[in-house]
Amino acid sequence: MTRVLPYPLLAASLLAMWLLLNGFTPGHLLLGAVIALVASHMMSALQPSKPRLRRWTRIAHLMGIVFVDILRSNIAVARIVLGGRNPQVVSGFVAIPLEMRDPTGLAFLACIITSTPGTAWVEYRSADDLLLIHVLDVVSEESWSDLIKNRYEALLMEIFE
């Protein structure tokens, strides 16, 4: 299995991308499968690290949570932009000690934090396991680090570590 398909996830996403771009026909399924196989074999020359997915089922849960949060913070940020220079809106930096070390999990966390309007990933030091984010509307620092740690990091650690 590993010799034929060194990177099954990569091959599957390449095939999915090919079918999305060209339409689903048996011919394209075959051609896409061949291209995905060859490409994932070429990729193995670069020896990328292989993400381990431990719990598939939690991914849907995580995506649901993130979807709702992005919707909510879109509304919140739109309100702040429309409100102009509101003195009640205090932005600032928040540091969060992370327990997650897995690079794929961290990459996902970066995508989540960046895609949520109102929070921006600023700095991460792997030596201290500390993440620095900037928050547009800090109500309390505690609730922000609680949110990142309990809502996202715990789930990501379940999936990837």
Binding site: S91, A95, E99, G118, L132, L136
Partner: protein, 136 residues
């Protein structure tokens, strides 16, 4: 493309609504880019355009072309995936550059890494890593 008039009314309304929502949010993001008063605040506002701004327009496009062509047209999903995956890269480049500049200029608004960490560690529930050096 020329059959746009054949679109049923409910689909036309929904497509229009999604397009207005998406472009409206993108416009709001652009306005925020002008109105907010510091670099780190301004960095938040284009995110409106990269999330529901893009999302609304893409959903509208998916619905419109699926109805017109009579088959599911889903390749817009790829745009959404690539926008989401690449935004952090540019954001981190910009934020790191700004942080570096502000620290070199000793801008008081931008605390050093250690200062933020110390201030937050009072609030954050203390984990194993605070205080004692971790063995790895």
């Amino acid at each position: 493309m020329s059959h746009a008039a054949d679109l049923p009314l409910w689909a036309a309304l929904l497509v229009a609504l999604l397009l207005v929502l998406g472009s409206g949010l993108t416009l709001l993001g652009a306005i925020g880019l002008v109105r907010l008063d510091s670099f780190y605040k301004r960095v938040h506002s284009p995110t409106l355009g990269t999330t529901w701004g893009t999302g609304g327009i893409l959903l509208g496009s998916m619905l419109f072309f699926s109805m017109i062509e009579g088959r599911p047209v889903l390749h817009e999903l790829l745009i959404a995936v690539f926008v989401t995956v690449t935004t952090p890269v540019t954001l981190m480049l910009l934020a790191r550059a700004a942080l570096y500049r502000d620290r070199m200029e000793k801008n008081p608004e931008v605390p050093t890494f250690v200062a933020v960490a110390e201030r937050s560690s009072e609030v954050v529930v203390k984990g194993t890593k605070n205080g004692e050096p971790e063995k790895s």
